[in-house]
Each structure stands twice: as C-alpha cells, then as structure tokens.
Symmetry: C3
Amino acid sequence: MGKTARELAEALGLHLEGDGNVLLRGVAAPERAGPHELIYLDAEKYAARAQASAALCAIVPEAAPLPGKTLLRCTKPKAAFARAAALLLEPPLIAAGIHSTALIAASARISRGVAVGPYAVVEEDAFLGEGAQLGAHCVVGRGSWIGSGCRLHPRVTLYPGVRLGDRVEVHAGAVLGADGFGYSYSDGRHWKFPQIGIVEIGDDVEIGANATIDRGSLGDTRIAGGVKLDNLVHVAHNVEIGAHTVIAAQTGISGSCVLGHHVLLGGQVGMGEHCTIEDGAIAGGQAGILNGKTIRSGQTVWGTPARPLAKFKEQYAWLGRLPELAERLKRLERQILKP
Amino acid sequence: MGKTARELAEALGLHLEGDGNVLLRGVAAPERAGPHELIYLDAEKYAARAQASAALCAIVPEAAPLPGKTLLRCTKPKAAFARAAALLLEPPLIAAGIHSTALIAASARISRGVAVGPYAVVEEDAFLGEGAQLGAHCVVGRGSWIGSGCRLHPRVTLYPGVRLGDRVEVHAGAVLGADGFGYSYSDGRHWKFPQIGIVEIGDDVEIGANATIDRGSLGDTRIAGGVKLDNLVHVAHNVEIGAHTVIAAQTGISGSCVLGHHVLLGGQVGMGEHCTIEDGAIAGGQAGILNGKTIRSGQTVWGTPARPLAKFKEQYAWLGRLPELAERLKRLERQILKP
Amino acid sequence: MGKTARELAEALGLHLEGDGNVLLRGVAAPERAGPHELIYLDAEKYAARAQASAALCAIVPEAAPLPGKTLLRCTKPKAAFARAAALLLEPPLIAAGIHSTALIAASARISRGVAVGPYAVVEEDAFLGEGAQLGAHCVVGRGSWIGSGCRLHPRVTLYPGVRLGDRVEVHAGAVLGADGFGYSYSDGRHWKFPQIGIVEIGDDVEIGANATIDRGSLGDTRIAGGVKLDNLVHVAHNVEIGAHTVIAAQTGISGSCVLGHHVLLGGQVGMGEHCTIEDGAIAGGQAGILNGKTIRSGQTVWGTPARPLAKFKEQYAWLGRLPELAERLKRLERQILKP
C-alpha cells in the first residue's frame, strides 16, 4: 500500500497544504514516526511535539501552524487520522487460506476468499461470507452466519445459530450465544428457563476480548450496526442495543434491557433487567441502573442508583459540606438551648 | 420427542383443562409459537398476548381465562413452563461420539455414552462419567473428575484435579482450577503462596461463559449442588458456596469467603476476603461487602460498604433532602444570628 | 525433591530450633499435613491448630512455642513458607516436550528445554526462551517473544508482537495484545483508531485467567517486573504499570493510565483514562478513579469518585448521622419559629 498526501486529501476531503506528492506508508506517533509515516495534531498545544517529528506530513486542525511539513487540514483531525490509517494500513492477517487442520462440515457454505486458521471448527450448515477470516481455534456453531469481511481472532466461540453482519470484528476469547442466565425457582431449586433464541449482530460491530453475549431465551439478543463493545463486557439474553452505541470494558447489561442508538456506557456500568436507555444517553463509569429504569434521551447519569449527573454532583458536594452544616447547627444550639 | 398436554400435566402435576390430546413438540413465546409449541402466561395482564397466539396449549395461573386453548393450570406457571421445556426439548448436542482428533490419555477412564469434540484434550487419570459431553477444544487436566451427564461447552479449561458432580453444565471459556491469587510480601517483592488445593463442584451446577473459579491454596474451593453462576463471575481460592445459591454476572468473591445456601448475589457484587454470607441473604447489584463482614441470614444488603437495604434507602433519601435541610438551617440562622 | 529442615533454614535464612534432619517433601495446612509436610504458623492464636498437626516441622514467628516440633523461626512466617514451598514443590508441568500436533512456524526460534502442548500454534518469527512451557491450544502470534522459564497455561492467546520477560506465568484464557478500544467519532459513526503498538511484560509477572491486556495504539502497553494481575483484570491500550504492583480481580484500567511501583488496587476498581497512580498508593475495592486524576504516593483512596480513605469514612459517618442532625434542626425550629 502507500498513498500520497494528495490522494489522502482527496479520499477524505481534507484541505492539502504543501507538497502533495509526499508518500505515506503508515501512521505513527510523532516521536516514533519516520518521514513517510503520517502523524496528526489534535490541539495546538501539542504543536511542538509534531513539529519535532521526522514525519513529513501531518493532519492538523484548521488553524495550527506547522512550518515545513505537508499539512492536511480539517476540523476533526483525530477522526481523519483514524480514517487515513484505515486507508494506509492493511489490517493484520488473522488467517491465510484454509488451514489443513481446520475442520469444516460438509454442509457449511464457504464463500470466496475465506480464510480459516489451524484447528478451527466450523459446524454443519454454517455460512462464511466473502473474505471472512477465522483465527486458530475458533468454533462456529451449527447454522451460524458470518457476514462478508468478518474478522474473528483466535478462539472466538459462536454457539449454534449466531448471526454476524458484514465486517464484524470479534476479539479472542469472546463467547457469543451461550445460554442466558434464566431460572425459575420452585420446590427449593432453580429450574433452567429455556434459552432457545439466537444472537444477531449488525454490520461493522466490534466485540472485545473475552466479552460474552448470551443468546435470547424465547426471543433474541440483538446488537445493531456500528456498535462497539470493549473487553469483558457482558450482554445478557434478549438485550437489544441500537446502532453506534459504545460500551466500555467490564460493563454488564442484564436481561431484556433495550438501549437506543448512540448510547455511551462507561466502564463497569451495571444495568438491572428490563431497563431502557434512550438514544444518545450516557452513563458514567460504574453507574448502576436499577431494574426497569428508563434513562431519557440525551441524559447523562452517574452513581448507584444512577441519577442525573448534575444531581449526583450536587449531592456529592452537599456530602462534603456536612461537617460545616453540623458545625453551624451546633452553634445555633449553643445560642438557643443554653440552660 | 413430543408429549401430549395430558402427559405433561401428569408429569408435572398440573391441572388439565380442555383437550388433553394436543401434541406439544417445543416451547415458544406467544408471538412466535406454532400450534404445537407450548406457551405460558405469568400474569393475567398478559392474557391478550397469549390469547392471540397460534399455540393450542398454555400453562396458566389458577384464575386466568384463555378460552379455546388447552390449559395447564398451576400456581407457578413460569417454573412449570421451565420444567415442561426440559421434558419437551432435547438439550443441544455439544459433541457426538469421540472425535478422531480428541486426545485422550491412555490412563483416562471414559464411561459409556461419553462424547468428546474435536481437538479436546483429556489428560492422564481423568474420569469422564456416563453420557458426559465435552465440546471442541476443552482441556480436562490430570486427575480431574467429570460426573455423569456433564455438559462442557467448547474450550472449557479444567486445571488438574478439578472435580465436577453430575449434570454440571459449564459454558465456553470458563476456567476452573487456575491458581488462586495469593502472595506474601517480603523483601520488596511478592512471593507466590502455594496453590495446591482443588476445586470441587456439586451436582446440577451451571457455570457461565468465561467465568473463573480458582483452586484452593492449602484447602479447597467448594461449590455445592444446584448453584448457578453467571458469565464472568470470579470465585477465588478457598471459597465455599452453599447449595442453590445464585450469583449474577461479573460478581467477584475474594478468597476464603463462605456463602450459605440459597444466597442471591446481584451482578457486579464485590466481596472482600473472609466474608460470611448466611443462608438466604441477598446482596443487590454492585454491593461491596468488606473483608471479614457477615451478612445475616435473610438479610438484604446494598451499597458500598454494603448495609441493610432499608438503611441504604433511608440514607439515600436523606442525601436528597440535604438542600432543604441547609435551607432551613440558613433560615434559622437569619432569625437568630442577625447582627 | 525434598529438603531437610536444616537445608531450608540455610536457604532462607531461618533460625532452626530442634531436629534439623527432618525431611520435608511438601507443604500443607496443619489439619491436612503428614509428618513430612511443612506447615506454618502466622500468629500465636493459631498455635493450638499447629500443635495438633501431624507435621514434624513448622515455620513460626519469633516467640511462638510449639513443643515437640522442629521450628524454623523468622519475622515473616507466611512469606518464608511461600518461599519454602517454592523450594519443595516442583511447579506442575504444563507441557512436556513438543507435542506432535503443535504447529510451530519454521521461522520461530525454539530454545532448549521448551515444551509445547497439543494443538498449540506458534506463528512466524516468534521466540520461545529456554524452558518455556506452553499449554494446549495456546496461540503465540507472529514475532512474539516468550522469555526463559515462562509458563503459559492452556489456551493463552498472544496477538502478534507481544513480549514477555522471563518467568512470566499466564493463566488459561488470558488474551494479550488485542486491539485497544479506541475510536474517533465523526459523521455519525465511530472510526477505529489505529492499534499498532505492542504489549511488553517484564520478568516474574503473573497474569490471571481470562484477563485481557490490550496492545498500545500508537505507543505501547507496558507492565513492569513482578506485577501480579488477578483473574478477569482488564488493562487498556498504552497503560504503564510499575514494578511489583498488585491488581485484584475484575479491576479495569482505561487507556493511557500510568501506575507506579508497589501500587495496590483492590478488586473491581475502575480507572478512567489518563490517571496517574503514584508509587505505593492504594485503591480500595470498587473505587472509581476519574479520568485524568492523580493519586499521590502512599495515599489510600476509596469510593466513587475515589477520595482519601479518611475522607470517605468521615463522609460515610456523617451520612449515618443525618437523621439525628435533622431531628436537632427540627427541635430548634420548634423553639424559634413557633407561631
């Protein structure tokens, strides 16, 4: 690969300033960059760091000066840099060709350009879309569907009937489609509730290492396109997550929660069952959202139980003022209640 | 498989109303059910939903009307439905027969009807009970014991010396018997404390995907029969968990805690070392139980540090009233302290 | 193996009292010990338990009496016991020799005494140091470096370019080097930020089961020597962790945090991005450290948002006193505001 600064500018709609023929072969942090590696500058205060770089070309905000370098100006340099990187860097190969030790059921349908790593297992009636790559030790259960361009890193496990859209990336150790945690108590023990739904994942979803997404019980678990789930996230049975929602590491979502699109959950957030998080709502790290609660669109919540951020901050400030309030109360008492 | 409504009624002690010859071949949600799939109705408010279903037969509470359908009446419809599902549905096959790529040590004892999936590894002196199924890539360490009817989904790892009772189900990616996290600090570094105990799991336990249960250090880690652990739960060395206790996702239990039977821990609960949770106690989601604490039988706690739920709620309510209290204080001050 | 009490005393600098010829072949808890298994006594109050043991030899504090046994006295019996165990017990073998099903790239460099378990995959240009043991189903990505004496339990996954120092122990299911969770939002979707750094782990590090350590984005993720990470810990991209820091289970560290040496994080701690935890600082279980915060050297913090422990305790105590304060306020009001 490799593109000129001009080619990048045209592909991404950036404003080119300086020598458009500079060849770019990769991306790097300013300190590590060679001449042909693209860097970016997010805020003017980092300009000296960028200036000192060996890189010949930088993506920069509208106003930043950076004399002597080829500049690609735009309003969101970090996003442009991310997109430029996708054009400059081939994603690392997870597998090449179908390894001789991969076990692929006769009834599985394998599209063109599929690669399957060593010791991977693809069960009956599974479908692997064009150019999909499966790493070593992946298990694709009966009747699963893997869309075009999916990338499953080593030892991803899909239980039977899991459906991935196109260009889904799943990191090592993630488990999709395990039984939901549903029991009904009677006669002193817990009877397992049937877990016979499926998991359906949209296009362009990324799922972190060792994350777990359970299958639906009688319904399905559904994750829409563009969703990003970090490592060790847990998504329970029958949850629905809207498009482009982002969920940071170790967050857990209980059964039957519904999240809108463009929701943002910090790390270690916990959600009880049957919560509703409307579009664009935000929950800060470690927030605890009670069973059945609704977080309104655009709202930001924090704390356990989760409450509007402003309220949390106000309460927290009052907590800090308690010694002073007590002192004032005591003073009044001294005045009033003297014997 | 397939059973008539009458057969189900007899097997489960339900009161049959209507045509007992209706044949049932599965279970479903009302909206998805075909005529021969059993549905259930938990509360009368959902009656319209059940009435509109194509299903011919429903499990219903004592009083619910549902004209035109065969009804199986009982006091706990959801539990009865779960038990009916277990009679109607064969659990999905994890493996069939012993795959030619499974590596089974010569000294391992394999009972009748055992199935072992591709690339699984069973080490020396392990025992696999009658009808046990092991998925692809499972590893059963030296001297482990797998009881009858156990179901290990793909890539479950048992370190040496782990013992499972009968009918234990372990989901993909769970790790049983890893070394406990025990060190002793001296001379500027942490010396690993010996982790030479075992893990012992009772009958009918279910363990979620990517959960981790550490082996004992000098003693053992013990989980009694009927316990249910959700995904990503962590159980440290030397923990003891009593029968039929239920622990939701991402909860972590530190070393040497003792939990009674029928305890209920919500998701993301954290327990310090050497805690005691007595029979039937409940900890709400994200509760944090301090080192060495005891939660009494029947008590419900919440918050960090965990306290009785009523106290938590009261404190939380007071927190919300602080602005008002401060306002009242100010008013008094204005009256009393005027110059 | 097997050592006499005298040999142990000399190797560890303990004060021998009694018969130095007692042969020791292992370690155990007092109740389980046979005559030739070493026990220890941490505090005098447990002396009766130790006295009743069949063990012939015990490591004990300076003053403890334990008539009839061979005693090894020192100031830190537990640490001495841990070190003695390391001398008496051979760590359990993870693999012996190179299994015929292990797939090792021709360009990988394999040092003397390396053992690789069944179905493990070692990719091109990887290096395995002297005596390293890799369990079944491990995956060692292209160009990774595994130092001497490393122990990788079954199905550890190293993405390409992960570097482990010497004597690193990694438990089953851990994933090192997965892509960091970095995106830049623009035009309604999240663009993946390049994740092209590496993971570098120092000597004598131990990493728990199903833990995840992400690779750096443009920089690297670095964990220094002697660090201990418990199960299900999450370390994000570009994090740096100083020597001998200990992190308990399920703790999550967001991108670009810097932790000093000898830091101690309890379980389920959450850290926002770009935090700094100075040397020797402590965060209690479930503490939540906000983005960009600094915890000073030697400080102990707790709560969310994390604050000094003394402050947390004080605030918590005030919270408990609110009903009383309100009562006192009411009493004043009655006096002052009577009609």
